[in-house]
């Protein structure tokens, strides 16, 4: 008997959602062990459906950029959790060989044009990617993911305008988790009508419930059809940041009740319930899936821990195309000036 397609999709989504959350939980462990490179570690727990839903609607060949809270988005795209975890640990087996870290993971193979540590910094890159796709007539779309905080960065509006003016296949996805660091959205934005803003710059715009992965997926898919035809779009995905801004932040600026309510907006719990209610999986099968994912992510964690650090001389690599240029070390310069032999 052939499975109901909705069932298949639901189970696929469920696995992806669980993978994202579990990955972040392992990242968090890695942090506690002191194994992450740096403390600037932003978990996307609570935002899984945005990542999984939009990614589900994307196609091979599409490009995207993410903000600093982008682990889940990349994982949903098909990233190898091992190499992600290794990068977060600053190891040489990571996606960026330990140079980028959590906030700069990228993979050209999967169309990941880069996570960005500048709020709003990666948005304009999809305008350029969209331009490339348009000129190559390849039917691809370029998607920028960013937080609600980036809604007050001027470059967003310059990017929207240019995309619409040039009819580029570009989509702007705002993962609204209600906070930019310690500042709740309404203390950062004079109005909350982000879709209206986008419309006045010539975009099609919508908001979706970021706890409903189907809604995110369906809306994205519809939008992306038009995007590919040259009608850029804006999608606001409403969710809630379950934890602190960065791993060490305990969110003292948030109301306890608000947090409790916020954490109930749990796409994974909702979907699990739905799956069980529909009879697609029994609770035990769900547990099994969760267990499988845990193992996958445990392995990723172990892989990261066991990978080696990049070697010191690698700092000079990849500043430029190695064929044309390579920086000289400060020490070399000093030895040259003082007529010391190089060594």
């Amino acid at each position: 008997m052939i499975d109901h397609p909705e069932k298949q999709q639901a189970l696929r989504f469920f696995r992806q959602l669980v993978r994202v959350r579990t990955f972040e939980e392992r990242v968090s462990e890695l942090f506690v062990q002191g194994g992450t490179a740096g403390s600037m570690l932003h978990l996307s727990i609570g935002e899984e459906a945005g990542a999984v839903g939009v990614m589900g609607a994307m196609r091979e060949g599409d490009g995207f950029t993410t903000h600093h809270r982008g682990h889940g988005i990349f994982l949903a795209r098909g990233a190898d959790p091992k190499r992600m975890m290794a990068e977060i640990a600053g190891k040489s087996s990571g996606y960026c060989r330990g140079k980028g870290g959590s906030m700069h993971i990228a993979d050209m193979g999967l169309g990941h044009l880069g996570a960005n540590a500048i709020v709003g910094g990666g948005i304009s890159h999809v305008v350029g990617a969209g331009l490339t796709y348009q000129m190559k007539h390849n039917g691809n779309a370029a998607i920028a993911f960013f937080g609600d905080g980036a809604m007050q960065q001027g470059i967003l509006y310059e990017s929207m305008n240019l995309s619409a003016l040039w009819k580029l296949p570009v989509m702007f996805v705002c993962i609204n988790n209600e906070y930019g660091m310690g500042t709740r959205l309404d203390r950062a934005s004079a109005t909350l009508e982000f879709e209206r803003r986008a419309e006045t710059f010539g975009l099609r715009a919508a908001e979706v419930d970021g706890t409903d992965v189907f809604e995110v997926y369906n809306r994205s898919r519809n939008m992306l059809e038009d995007v590919r035809k040259g009608q850029p779009a804006f999608l606001k995905v409403n969710s809630y940041r379950f934890h602190g801004h960065a791993r060490m932040d305990k969110s003292p600026y948030r109301d306890q009740d608000e947090e409790r309510e916020g954490r109930k907006k749990d796409a994974i719990a909702f979907l699990r319930q739905h799956i069980v209610e529909e009879g697609w999986y029994q609770e035990s099968e769900c547990d099994e899936l969760v267990e499988e994912v845990k193992q996958e992510m445990d392995e990723a964690l172990k892989y990261a821990q066991q990978s080696s650090n990049p070697s010191p001389e690698e700092i000079y690599d990849d500043v430029f195309d190695p064929e044309t240029d390579n920086p000289v070390s400060v020490d070399f310069r000093i030895r040259q000036a003082l007529h010391y032999s190089q060594g």
Binding site: M40, G98, K99, M103, A117, G120, A150, G180
Partner: protein, 324 residues
């Protein structure tokens, strides 16, 4: 006297200044409720209220631009950029506006604002959260530029910044906030005067901000090997106290500049050139520049460390310079 942290000293400077000058306001991301990303303004919202301690959206360009306009009309704003790396988003307002308004307008008005931020490595912040960009500001006429290394300097330089009638770029170092020291509130600390942190006769180390501490550690260890190093803390890069530096170099005959910013066209280039210009006849060796490598900062803590001068390399370089 009780120990104070660099962070607390900054907070004290801000607090005292705000108590005595009602025109001072603070604006920036997370300066209020959160207390500042590095905790400098913690608790100040409670004392001064949200009219004077203003959380802003993530809009660096208008943070600096609004500070400019406020400064022109009678306030004395302290605009905070969470990381100096973000000044890239506000360079027009800082360089084309704040720094030039007095001049362009023929001296009609100054722009008495302080742009506070922090830079440098030490927290694996990677390429966009670890830069030392002070050379850009030093290259911009019209800006004061303070980079305190100690608790007492942090306090006095910030207080003094809040009395000047021109824009001050005030750069802290993310690695110094927890530094402890005895705050000397009554120390006379003239603006633009370097401090000889350690006297020595074999060579002169010129530095500022966090690197001072590395230089001091190196000098201490070297002294045990019979090498006597003079360490000069510039404190401000504008004004630049070359008198103290050249006086020292004319005694020691050997100078080394230690900075965390990238070597090429960085602050150490200016200092090296100036030392040569002002103490050429005394130089036994070329001025040595020990600076950050000409690379973006990598995230790996090991690689990050290798990107900027460390105590070991300061020591070995001093030895090379002294042919020991």
């Amino acid at each position: 006297m009780a120990e104070t942290t660099y962070r607390e000293a900054l907070r004290l400077a801000l607090t005292e200044s705000m108590r005595s000058d009602p025109s001072i306001i603070i604006l920036g991301e997370e300066v209020g409720k959160y207390g500042g990303a590095y905790g400098v303004t913690k608790g100040m919202l409670e004392e001064f209220g949200d009219a004077r301690i203003r959380d802003t959206p993530i809009s660096e360009e208008v943070i600096v631009g609004a500070a400019v306009g406020a400064a022109m009309t009678g306030l004395r704003p302290v605009a905070e950029l969470m990381y100096i790396d973000f000044v890239t988003l506000a360079m027009d307002q800082l360089v084309n506006q704040a720094a030039k308004i007095r001049y362009m307008f023929g001296g009609q008005i100054g722009v008495p604002m302080v742009l506070r931020s922090q830079g440098g490595t030490g927290r694996s912040g990677a390429a966009q959260h670890s830069q030392s960009l002070e050379a850009w500001m030093m290259h911009t006429p019209g800006l004061h530029l303070a980079m305190p290394s100690t608790v007492t300097d942090a306090y006095h330089l910030l207080k003094h910044s809040l009395t000047l009638n021109d824009p001050v770029v005030f750069l802290e170092h993310k690695g110094l906030y927890t530094l402890k020291g005895t705050l000397e509130p009554d120390k006379a600390l003239p603006w633009g005067k370097a401090e000889v942190r350690r006297q020595g006769g074999d060579c002169t180390l010129v530095s500022y901000s966090r690197m001072i501490h590395l230089c001091m550690d190196a000098a201490e260890t070297l002294s045990k090997e019979g090498i006597s190093v003079e360490v000069i803390d510039l404190r401000t890069l504008h004004p630049l106290d070359m008198q103290t530096v050249s006086e020292s170099v004319s005694r020691t005959g050997r100078a080394m500049v230690v900075t965390e910013d990238c070597l090429t066209a960085g602050v150490s280039a200016e200092l090296s050139a100036r030392i040569m210009e002002e103490a050429f006849d005394f130089l036994e060796e070329p001025v040595v520049r020990l600076s950050g490598e000409d690379i973006p900062i990598p995230v790996s803590p090991q690689l990050e460390q290798g990107s900027v001068p460390g105590v070991e390399r300061i020591m070995s370089t001093v030895k090379m310079l002294l042919r020991r």
